[in-house]
Subunit: 420 residues, 2 copies
């Protein structure tokens, strides 16, 4: 039986086939995401992978609906697997916002789903690091969020040579649109044209822009000038104070497709332009109000970073570490008469926090040793019974090949020592 | 807008309402599960939350089908959200078993789903710790798996006073059934009667058993005697060698409902009998063969432990720690002229691995200090400009109330020191 098209299985390393997805690499990414979010004082939340379809159709531009992984459940409800986390976050915050001091700094690592026409290699799910700040209008919040985005990417070993945050603002485009007497009814359509500027020919864009009463020439000049708004100036200064100037630039090409963004928007790209956006986000000051039916009004902003593009980039830059079982010790049981004593030792070492494995059944000495090597154990350990009846323990460091006799009672301490 | 019935939102602590689910408690449980599995040399895997419906209907007794969260997708496929992890594991292992050395020791922390008629408090999803060993028929594998189960529960602070593993065997019941000339066609129905023994009246059970040509008296005597089979003896001895005898007992009431179990079965229960089973599992030596259409034949066994009963038990035994933001430092910005220098300091401390927060916008000194206390920060830190122009840093330990002046360059080292 096969898994569903567009979904992934995650296998332990070493992978028996180069096209398999690594569960260890996934966990490595999750740990980095979670670790940096916590350092920044962000707190974790999560919601259900399924929501009422209405939660997503209420808030999104029409462009998202056809892509939803939606269905009718056994109770006749219209349901969707979540395509993004922000509506769930807005719903959750709206329900209990009085119980939390503002601003909220929250993060989640949800799996997200979409139902697109199946193309080779196109996935129907991915994992996403979502970080949001709610309850603060000041651009200091935008800067804090963008700094988290930058430092998260840096924690993987990526540098300013590898990626850049392209910073833009819906407000800037709104001013431009009004200054150029754009038709208010066409404002959102105009944003969609800007969003597609880099993917279409100048002729296509120009024709569409003319339809909205504008020209590609005017638009291109505005992008070329790239004059930061006051809010963008404040963000750039804040990031400069942190020493992060080399990681950001103003780029008005970025406008973000989703309908709900209201202010600053940004995307992270690899400098070489080989991959799709690594992350994207922005301000959505009206969404909580919309989702809560007007009951709760909280300014908000956030970003999402997917696992798939990030993993491609880390692979291309050779920044993924080698993953293995990380065994502190493999216990060789060469004398079956000592199996019970070995089990006790193994149990004590695990209780002390060490990662220990062994052969479940009797096996030849060299086969056991080979297994220890395959598992990249740092040490082999083996009990021995002295002619006096006393038990001794031999600890061998598989890197240095050095072997020492260690009192059984000191085994855990010795192995912990040489872990570093 | 509301979340779907039977699903949970997970909020950061402190929770604004006692009935909310804690994202921090969930992560605490996940960390313990993952940590103990790794110490035992188990490797993580995961599959998609959705599978073809067929994967579950092929392997399960009819009793599971009505409970599936299944639906038809946009492409007309019959789909189900996974109700358990074992079929996915069998599918994944069957696809790449040649690429891995046996035995496999694998674990996963999947979210599982069911669609039951909605009752108050009945959930339609939960998270489950799944650990499995594949490729080993010897009862040493059963003992290793049960030891992992015991040590996982112990890692939460639970003791032999709190829980016990009830150990049983389908083989023992099979022998009993044949010795008593049960009708082979009724064997699985017989297991279902045993499975329900503790939930039905003696009269109900006796009547059903008579239908299968047996009596409650014979069955009760067999359970009462509780004579371990050879495989159970081997497991008990193995666990005794590890010092875990007080955590297990033979109890033939346990037989497990699912059709695919073939040998040893077991369940973990709280000693006081207040809760449903904490965990359950057993051998399923034929399942990989069934799922792979006969291509791969691997003996296997595993257990599942859900998050909901475990959390109830930990709460009842007061074994959950207090969760908070775990801030190493809250940076007070009392002089706005020092905001940029403070941002730099905060950034450096976070880069050193510390959890640091601050007020995004200008705020009164006492309000900032109050926020630091609310967040349970271990220290407050604040920059000060000397009349000489030099910057100094004041570090205050919020527990001891002690305040020290620390060279700015040494801030990270000092705060790391006093973390312990």
């Amino acid at each position: 039986m096969e898994r569903l098209p567009g979904f992934r299985d995650f296998y332990p390393e070493p992978l028996p086939h180069p096209e398999l997805w690594s569960a260890d690499a996934r966990q490595y990414i999750f740990d980095k995401w979670r670790g940096m979010a916590r350092r920044y004082g962000f707190r974790e939340y999560d919601g259900p992978p399924l929501e009422a379809l209405e939660l997503f159709t209420t808030k999104s531009g029409e462009e998202i609906v056809g892509q939803l992984y939606n269905f009718t459940d056994k109770g006749g409800r219209e349901i969707s697997l979540r395509p993004e986390m922000t509506p769930t976050l807005a719903r959750m915050v709206a329900a209990y916002e009085r119980g939390y001091k503002k601003p909220l700094k929250w993060f989640a690592l949800p799996q997200l789903f979409r139902y697109e026409r199946q193309q080779k290699g196109r996935l129907r799910e991915h994992f996403q690091f979502n970080a949001d700040i709610l309850g603060e209008r000041h651009p200091a919040a935008d800067a804090e969020l963008i700094a988290l985005l930058i430092d998260t990417l840096r924690s993987f070993g990526l540098t300013e040579q590898d990626f850049v945050i392209r910073l833009s603002s819906r407000n800037a485009w709104q001013d431009f649109f009004r200054d150029h007497h754009g038709d208010a009814a066409q404002e959102y359509a105009f944003y969609q044209i800007i969003d597609k500027l880099e993917r279409e020919t100048p002729e296509q864009s120009d024709e569409k822009l003319k339809g909205a009463g504008l020209s590609l020439e005017e638009v291109s000049a505005f992008i070329e000038l790239g004059k930061p708004t006051a809010e963008l100036e404040a963000i750039l200064q804040n990031l400069a104070a942190r020493g992060l100037s080399d990681y950001v630039k103003i780029d008005y090409h970025v406008i973000r497709g989703l309908a709900y963004y209201t202010g600053v928007v940004f995307e992270a790209f690899d400098r070489k332009g080989e991959f799709r956006a690594i992350a994207g986000g922005g301000r959505y000051d009206n969404l909580v109000k919309l989702i809560s039916g007007g009951k709760v009004d909280l300014p908000a902003l956030g970003f999402g970073m997917g696992d798939v593009v990030l993993l491609e980039l880390l692979k291309a830059r050779a920044l993924l570490p080698r993953f293995d079982a990380a065994l502190d010790a493999f216990c060789l049981i060469e004398d079956e008469a000592l199996r019970n004593e070995s089990l006790k030792l193994i149990h004590d070492l695990r209780a002390a926090g060490l990662v220990v494995d062994y052969s479940l059944t009797p096996a030849k000495s060299d086969k056991q040793f080979k297994r220890a090597q395959e598992l990249k154990a740092r040490h082999t350990i083996r009990l021995d019974r002295m002619p006096t009846g006393e038990l001794t323990l031999k600890v061998k460091n598989l890197k240095t090949r050095e072997e020492n006799v260690v009192p059984v009672a000191e085994a855990a301490a010795r192995l912990c020592e040489s872990q570093g």
